[in-house]
């Protein structure tokens, strides 16, 4: 499991930030250095506003600290990135309480169902009593897909009929969890574009059911984002946060060549921490996100 994380990080490292070290690694800082830096950040999907802000901050730091060599910029950039990835708030999913309710949300195809399978497996292994709710009643065979994951993770699943009301199934799930003494409930939801008014309302209804039925629930609302997504990731995070008070992000498909640079903008603008990264199709391909390790990883090469 740890090998796969290291592999996927090192791929990111070599492909992008490896270039930062190479391109900025020698010589004095000149106009070209700045252009290269900007180009590299943009190509890592860090996004235009965050890139511009980072470059400005670095210019100020170069001036203030009298830096003159390009390689000194790497340290400065590392520091600057670290200030963006501030300490994450408590991860409520892992706090002790009678019943912890976790909603998993996101746009179509980001990897929600697969991620829930992995989460179920991980927390079952950690000794939690896990129950799944098949809240994606819309997409063809989504319930069957989650059912297969629940069997692989060996955790039970509460599901209803296709095209049923996700809020009603959520309610059934919470009742079942209470009655049978489960302490961790993951609610799968249908993928939806954040621009669809009615679908976002439907999601709010699921949120409302959690809120009404369990004290302080949902304790975590995790947004699943896929790493190849560009700058729209920030808009997605914003809109889902507005609707259902997203508390954290899971970044999937980090085993490809995608850089996942929008994480910085999401931290910076919305204060949403990344909790896990998805690194493959197997049930063990999920790793906790460690900001320090992530930044350090980006720079060793």
């Amino acid at each position: 499991m740890f090998r796969s994380i290291r592999d996927s990080l090192s791929r990111t490292r070599q492909s992008v930030f490896g270039q930062i070290a190479n391109v900025l690694g020698t010589g004095e800082i000149n106009d070209e250095t700045w252009e290269d830096l900007e180009a590299l950040l943009i190509q890592a999907d860090v996004g235009v506003p965050t890139t511009l802000a980072l470059v400005d901050a670095m210019r100020a730091r170069v001036k203030r600290d009298n830096l003159y060599r390009a390689d000194q910029l790497i340290q400065a950039l590392k520091d600057e990135l670290r200030t963006i990835l501030f300490d994450a708030p408590t991860f409520e999913l892992e706090e002790k309480r009678q019943l912890t309710v976790v909603m998993v949300v996101g746009v179509n195809g980001s990897g929600k169902t697969t991620t829930i399978g992995k989460l179920a497996y991980k927390y079952k292994g950690d000794g939690r009593n896990v129950l799944l709710v098949a809240g994606d009643t819309f997409r063809a065979a989504a319930i069957d897909q989650l059912k297969i994951w629940s069997e692989r993770a060996d955790v039970p699943l509460i599901s209803g009929a296709p095209n049923g009301d996700p809020a009603a199934i959520t309610y059934d799930g919470i009742r079942a969890a209470r009655a049978r003494g489960y302490d961790l409930l993951f609610i799968d939801t249908a993928g939806r574009l954040h621009t669809k008014f009615n679908l976002m309302k439907e999601l709010e209804k699921v949120y409302g059911v959690c809120k009404k039925s369990v004290h302080a629930a949902p304790h975590e609302v995790l947004l699943v984002l896929d790493a190849p997504t560009g700058q729209n990731a920030l808009t997605q995070a914003q809109k889902f946060k507005e609707s259902v008070n997203v508390t954290g992000v899971i970044l999937t498909k980090l085993d490809g060549t995608a850089k996942g640079g929008m994480v910085f903008a999401i931290y910076r603008e919305l204060g949403l921490p990344v909790r896990f990264i998805g690194t493959g199709e197997k049930i063990v391909d999920l790793a906790p996100f460690d900001a320090d390790q992530f930044i350090e990883g980006l720079f060793d090469s």
Binding site: G117, K147, P228, G230, N232, T235
Partner: protein
């Protein structure tokens, strides 16, 4: 979709339009904005560079300096360049051989399976007989998903379960289609990473075995800078013949489509524009370029109207309208036809000049108003719909209760309807130039 890019460029060109002549410095300033706008739209960095270079070369030349409205000239150059970059209109080349094989490839979660269903429906509408082949044996329940779509559409699906070899499944699927007299086969392959050599080898083998006439890369319109690498890798492996961009009904700026088209040189053929199986659009570069620049897309709107609206019913309503017999019933029918066209926001974006306005208006309000109007009319008896005059206090209370609205809202609707009728009468009599109709009714409701 793509609206933000449109807005951004529009604001640059608004600045240009206010000036008489363009200096080279103006062009520089405009190009900087074009560059930023494209980058913010997730167009790949390198693609932006070459695009801006091409536009600048054309803009700084005499073409612009001699023209009377240089700003418009730059808009035109960007527009032309966008059309050129976006390439030719999407057309499937299915050849003469039957069955014609279409293979869909792409990353996980791009929307291949859904697109397979949409494409099958689209082709059946054109008189072809499609067979869907489920070759995704990896993702849990992927084949069930395709089977479910097939049942919904009443289109046959061939698969050999989740333990089968995808290469064999595809080859057998094609044989099966030939035997059953199907004219088109759509291969739904598993999602895979472009750097996964083993999995890329699998689609190469499928391609070699089934000899598809179209190999289409299905890609998420929200993809960022990565788009170039993904498209290049898939193209190198299986020589794609076209692109399908999915989830373009979101608010992503859609730069990935420009990047992928530029680096592969293959045309964009279709757009996935919604959750329903009919939500597939044939790609038109000129329309998309216009839409990106906020110049509207009336052609798509007209086409949509032609396919979705009941012509006879519309004509009948039009005639009654001219005779002054327009009733709430006709009004309700008209509204329902408009609703068939899609969400109001999507429609507005297609109307020239509206794209900019829709940004500031919460269109979900308009959608709700439409629903409310519909509910009110549906709570009336046929007699009331034909002659709303008979609606007095008690009937109004009943209608309000039935539609979950208030008497005030019922009154407002009736008042607007009376005004609309008045305008119609004026129109009929040729007096005045009233701008009545649904838009004013909605605007004031």
């Amino acid at each position: 979709m793509f609206e933000s890019l449109g807005n951004r460029l529009q604001s640059v060109f608004d600045g240009l339009q206010r000036r008489g002549k363009l200096t080279e410095a103006d062009v520089d300033k405009a190009m900087r904005e074009v560059r930023l706008a494209l980058l913010e739209a997730d167009v790949n960095f390198k693609v932006v560079k070459s695009f801006v270079k091409r536009v600048r070369e054309r803009a700084v030349g005499q073409e612009v300096m001699r023209s009377l409205t240089p700003g418009q000239q730059v808009v035109k150059i960007v527009h032309d360049e966008l059309i050129q970059t976006l390439g030719e209109p999407g057309r499937l080349n299915l050849g003469l051989q039957s069955p014609a094989v279409i293979m869909l490839v792409g990353l996980q979660g791009a929307g291949k399976t859904t697109m397979a269903g949409k494409l099958a429906l689209h082709l059946r509408k054109q008189g072809r007989r499609p067979l869907l082949v489920g070759a995704d044996v990896y993702r849990p329940a992927a084949i069930d998903q395709l089977q479910t779509l097939g049942r919904q559409l009443d289109i046959p699906v061939y698969d050999e379960g989740a333990d089968a070899d995808p290469v064999k499944v595809c080859a057998n699927g094609v044989k099966q289609a030939a035997k059953a007299g199907m004219t088109t086969v759509i291969l739904d392959t598993a999602g895979r990473l472009n750097i996964d050599e083993m999995m890329m080898g699998e689609i190469e083998a499928i391609k070699a075995k089934t000899n598809p006439i179209e190999t289409l890369l299905v890609a998420d319109a929200m993809t960022g800078q990565e788009a170039v690498r993904v498209a290049t890798d898939f193209n190198n492996a299986v020589s794609i013949t076209g692109l399908i961009m999915t989830k373009v009904d979101g608010d992503a700026r859609g730069g990935a489509s420009i990047s992928m088209r530029e680096v592969t040189g293959v045309p964009i053929k279709f757009l996935g524009t919604g959750e329903k199986l009919k939500d597939i659009e044939v790609f038109h570069p000129d329309r998309l370029a216009s839409r990106i620049l906020g110049m509207g897309d009336m052609l798509t709107l007209i086409e949509k109207a032609q396919t979705e609206m009941d012509q006879a019913e519309a004509q009948e309503a039009g005639e009654r309208l001219l005779k002054g017999q327009f009733t709430l019933e006709d009004f309700l029918k008209q509204m329902q036809q408009i609703k068939k066209l899609g969400p109001i926001g999507q429609l507005m974006e297609m109307i020239p000049g509206m794209g900019k306005m829709t940004k500031d208006v919460d269109l979900s309000d308009a959608e709700r108003d439409l629903k409310r109007i519909e509910a009110i009319i549906q709570s009336m008896t046929p007699q009331e719909r034909r002659s709303p005059k008979i609606l007095k206090a008690s009937r109004k209370r009943r209608v309000a209760a039935g539609s979950g609205t208030t008497v005030q809202e019922v009154n407002a609707l009736l008042k607007q309807f009376r005004e609309m009728q008045k305008v119609m009468k004026q129109l009929r009599g040729g007096r005045g130039r009233g701008r009545g109709g649904l838009s004013s009714l909605l605007g004031r409701f």
